[in-house]
């Protein structure tokens, strides 16, 4: 692999950058692979990466119907935090967050992880109590968080209005090492690293069927032909239901649109990420200067990647109350993604009723932060048949009532 560094750039500049190689190869699919991952989003690519890196499994194809990273991975608002309440969630999100800390160096690709800190505002007594509880839980889980006063909130984020007429800010849960990263870079960086390990990333190739024999997976049918495999990982977020259907089982998942928007870029005005869950809105400022804004998911199922505008209005209204200065900024662009929601709003990383077929989905509105950790757990599960990080997230938990309910502490979970 061509290594990236300031030196390499200077060297290339001399020859007008004509020497840069492809970041990843675009090969034709082979007839068979040891392992196939469906979905070249962050989670699928991270799974492949750790399969190769930790377990030496490199005869891998990652199959993507569109372009890699073009699903929710390239559409999210990039909040990374691990201040979750329940033990299994805190474990996997904190693992993930800590992997983000060193990701740029690990894969020699600057994913711009920016641990600028996340504030989750407490705007009702109940919310304040919930966050105090989370702070206690986090301390025991090894997640560094703190319940801070409204005074500290103002200090960390001067543009906030503490005294909204409706919901005064009573304090906040503060995670100083939470933050954001560049979403595309995560997908591209992993794709480059996977390709470098000899894995094939096959774009513009849609899986249209899953083949099996005697209860064991044997391969997939795609728009570019049949491809055999011994092991299959389904990592397709909003389309998980459709893929599970092909594999012959059902999922407790609903697919709904989640929207986001950005303002025009302005000079730095906000150094932290702020989430206001009572009013359903959150905001951060990208390195480009855009205010990145998101809110709640639509109330009905759909696959169009377009949400209803009244949700945007609701979110924006909440944030104008929280940050009055944004009223005179302009909305530059809005978009939506289809998120995969489980009943308890926690993910599924699990074996499936089909032998050697594994699934990783249900990250819903908040799976970008989980990309490296989820891939880590999924790879372990696929390679070894079990993973402590994934253990709680099995598919049968819904039948057993073993929910991992995060809505307990916070309304939205981005």
């Amino acid at each position: 692999m061509q290594r990236y560094s300031a030196f390499a750039i200077a060297r290339e500049a001399l020859r007008h950058h004509t020497g840069w190689q492809r970041a990843w190869r675009s090969p034709e699919p082979k007839r068979r692979y040891d392992t196939i991952i469906i979905g070249a989003g962050g989670h699928g690519l991270a799974t492949a990466y750790w399969l190769g890196k930790l377990y030496g499994i490199r005869d891998v194809a990652v199959i993507e119907k569109g372009w890699l990273g073009g699903g929710n991975t390239g559409r999210n608002t990039t909040i990374i935090r691990s201040n979750y309440l329940q033990d299994p969630s805190a474990a996997i999100y904190e693992k993930s967050r800590s992997l983000y800390e060193t990701m740029s160096q690990d894969i020699n690709y600057n994913v711009m992880f920016s641990p600028r800190g996340v504030l989750m505002l407490a705007q009702t007594e109940a919310e304040a109590r919930g966050y105090r509880r989370t702070a206690h839980a986090n301390a025991l889980q090894g997640v560094e968080t703190q319940f801070v006063s409204s005074w500290r909130v103002k200090q960390l984020c001067p543009i906030i209005s503490l005294e909204g007429p409706r919901y005064p800010v009573l304090g906040a849960l503060w995670q100083p090492r939470a933050g954001t990263a560049r979403h595309d870079a995560v997908a591209w960086g992993y794709a480059r690293a996977c390709s470098d390990m000899g894995m094939d990333i096959i774009q513009k190739c849609e899986v249209t069927g899953i083949r099996s024999e005697g209860g064991q997976v044997t391969g997939v049918s795609t728009t570019r032909g049949e491809i055999e495999c011994d092991r299959l990982g389904i990592v397709v977020a909003g389309h998980s239901g459709a893929l599970a259907d092909m594999a012959g089982f059902r999922l407790p998942i609903e697919s709904v649109a989640l929207q986001a928007l950005v303002s025009e870029p302005i000079k730095p005005a906000m150094d932290v990420v702020v989430m206001a869950n009572t009013v359903h809105g959150y905001m951060s400022q990208s390195d480009k200067g855009e205010m990145v804004i998101g809110g709640g998911a639509d109330g009905y199922n759909n696959y169009t990647q377009r949400g209803s505008f009244h949700h945007i209005e609701e979110t924006v209204r909440a944030l104008v109350e929280t940050f009055p200065m944004i009223s005179r900024l302009k909305m530059l662009r809005q978009w939506g993604g289809i998120v995969d929601m489980t009943g308890d709003r926690s993910p599924i990383i699990s074996k499936t009723p089909l032998g050697n077929c594994f699934i990783n989905c249900g990250w819903g509105t908040g799976g970008f932060k989980a990309v490296p950790g989820s891939g880590w757990a999924m790879a372990e599960l696929m390679a070894k048949g079990q993973s402590p990080l994934a253990e709680a997230f099995t598919l049968d938990r819904f039948r057993e009532g073993r929910f991992i309910d995060e809505s307990v502490a916070a309304g939205v979970a981005h």
């Binding site: 000079k267 005179r328 662009r333 009532g401």
Partner: protein
Amino acid sequence: MSRRLSQGGRLIDRSRTFHFTVDGRRYGGFAGDTLASALLASNRTLMGRSFKYHRPRGVVSSGAEEPNALFGLGTGDRFEPNQRATMTELYPDLTALSQNRWPNLEQDLGGLISRAARVLPAGFYYKTFLRPRVFWKHVYEPVIRALAGLGHAPAEKDADRYEHFNVTVDVLIVGGGVAGLQAARRAGAAGLRVLLVEQTAQWGGRAPVDGAVIEGKPADAWITGVLSELQSMPNVHMRPRTMGAGVYDHGYALVYERVTDHVSGAQGPRHRLWRVRAGRILTTTGALERPLSFAGNDLPGVMLAGAVRDYVVNHAVTPGERVLVVTNNDDAYRTALALSEAGVTVPAIVDARPGGGGALAEAARSAGLRVLTGTAIAGLSGKRHVTGAALCLQDGTGEVTEQIACDTVAMSGGWSPVVHLWSHCGGKLTWDVDEVMFRPDPNRPPTGADGRGFVEAAGAANGYLATADILGDADRAARAVTEALGRSLDDAPALQAEREETAPIRAVWTMPEKAPVKLREKMWLDYQNDVKVSDVALAAQEGFESVEHAKRYTTLGMATDQGKLSNINGLAILADTLGAEIPAVGTTTFRPPYTPISIGSVAGEARGDLFQPIRRTPLHHLHEAAGAVFEPVGHWRRPYVFPRDGETVAQAVEREILTVRHKVGLLDASTLGKIIVKGPDAGRFVDMIYTNKMSTLKVGRCRYGLMCSENGFLMDDGVVARLDEQTFLCHTTSGGADHIHAHMEDWLQTEWWDWQVYVANVTEQYAQIAVAGPKAREVLETVGGMDVSKDAMAFMDWADGALAGIPVRVFRISFSGELSYEIAVPASRGEALWQALRSAGETHGIAPYGTEALHVLRAEKGLIMIGDETDGTVVPQDLGLDWAISKKKDDFIGMRGQQRRELSRPDRWKLVGLETLSGGVLPDGAYAVEEGRNANGQRNVQGRVTSTYRSPTLGRGIAMGLVRNGPDRMGEVLDFPGTDGVVHRARIVSPAFYDPEGERQNV
């Protein structure tokens, strides 16, 4: 030098001079100017700095697509960054600030970056800033952030107002050029309700500037006629300064009106967001001119040819004295002619086509202009402004054939239909090889619920460039829309418009075609984001082959103009580098809004007090007068405590608790949910909704009941009173009323739609007051009116009657453990009853108490509180409430859920009381730890605190909690580490700390 021409200017009024200020310098302009035209008229051509390299930039366009000339407008609480000078109408005393420069626009230190551009190609930041790791957060990122961004953030709360309009129309026509006007005229004549919007202040679009002649009249005259015709149609509504911002599913569209931006100190809303529901949407949004990619094409002085023509014709401004025209199509000749007519020198017209142009080229030649064919620009000279151009052959590699002195370059790379609105909701495009443009694919429009297209494009927006074709297409589209809406349209003769013979455009993506990388590094595609031809080529070379990848890798099209000038050119370069056809590479998705809209307008009126309605109980103003401290509970405000002079909140809470324990207290319980369930099947229904058997409840009696979610978790609780055989009154928690009402409706409407039951949420119909404490009965007896003795009204009885002459319903229920009555009265009588109770209780020391005292009182009794002891993961069995779960029923909501393995495990965390060894208060939300760590390295835990208070009654800290097997472990001591490092030790006890036998309430 750019300057005002002595004559002409169809939009300006030379009799009205406005003064304005930019960066502290005063300038003058005329009414009808834009900020851009007025600055050009004042020979100020440097208007901005680019985003990445901070390069000096001048205005390139005259419209919504402007990427360079952005200013901060206004001051203080009316300051707004990133306003396009081209769309800003001049008004007296306008104040503007240039952006993205330090210390000033002329000398911007950031401009030094430009010198290092060579080492800062597309995506360089993905390849560097990797080490040392901590530098990203502390060094690299802060510096990058400071250099990025454009204008400064507004510092103050917005002083302006915004509003929303909702309208339903048959057809929304977006774009008030000749196509839009003609279509509106036809649709209007067919009787359709038409809303016609135009983003600028003028009607007619480009036609008057382009010298169109319609029906033998100059365009301006024809437009005036059509406007008066439209104004006379009551079914046609027209709005200038109003932009079609977005098209959404089901004919929903957003329209953005800038109501007062163009007047200083105006009253009324600043922007208005129209939410339009349209039967059909017709986009007559015109076309945008594409720049040409030649080396140095970002220098101030390089402009779109159409824009140059606009400034000359509309504002009588010439951007230069010697304007070189460069083109690959006929349209730019119009600019050359307009300039030469205005007396401006056009040293040459550089036409990349070997065969040159058609009739317009002839006209140019006859006007004495020099036309060079097959020729291109090899490069420009000048540092901050164009001073000359080097020419070469288009088909070559850039060997200079000639130098021409000029101070402006007017370029035209052809026109792209504005297909944004067509595309927002899924309309597809098709590549027209001959016209070199993407146009709407009529076979793949955005479709509505009936599977038929609901957007129609017409005119230039549909790929037609000649006036006659445009008008004909408008007629066609108006007919299509009218017929789709089930109306008919009379035949009208086609309009006649003059048509010139034209020569075809030639696709020119770089100048010259075989430009070497050294030239490509100087060809800008995206001006604002500094994306060059070489950047897109680099992206392709590195494997970013999909448009979306290339776009994101290079940031092409991601700037505030959203690629209006750069998308097609960038796409062509990408296709070229990949050796693919343009349509095979595809287009990017267009996302709303068309151009940025104010966030204030999206929020609309719902700000400040109107943000969300505050629900107030009928007694709210009394509490306010009493100095209550309020807390938000759902949308309600409830008194948290009523502090008296000199009392702290904590002291006041303690006093209130002791008042209830020893005397009598009054609580405003009006927010408590009250849902009537009525009908022959009401009993059956409440048996399903509650875990208890409610149907056996006797009329006149009350019963505490639990409601669970389908998954079995405890969701809400409250007292149910049976009013008559077929009627139950279900009390819910304050926060739960709406949700429980919806839950009941959900089940009734989707599962038990054939049951004869109605539910009604009557929460707000009643004021409800709890009178609690040992003296409660005496207070009611003093008020007088009904028998409230133990015999007449036992614990858990209810009765209708009158108190102080007010019709009341009295429930003998208690949440405090004391003798207590809850009295419901019609909302309008709440105040009278409250006053009557207060004065009757005066001798007993009656006092109101708030929610905090309520919470402590119930905790002292060991009563659970929804939201404290429950969090959506707790089943009633965890809380020792098995007694409230009927064993006799076949089914209730949640029953099956509770039978699942995890929910029926014997070792679940269960409710207990917790007493600190020290007598202090346990920290809220603390967990009880256990030995060891789990497989993920987390501390093992065995329980947690759910409620914790200081009990003034017992004089110590008390808490409730959930502990693994808790009830079997009485007396055991657990460790609760606080977040402050202190470990709190507490003993497991019964949760009923006070009066466990319930003797006090049952008197």
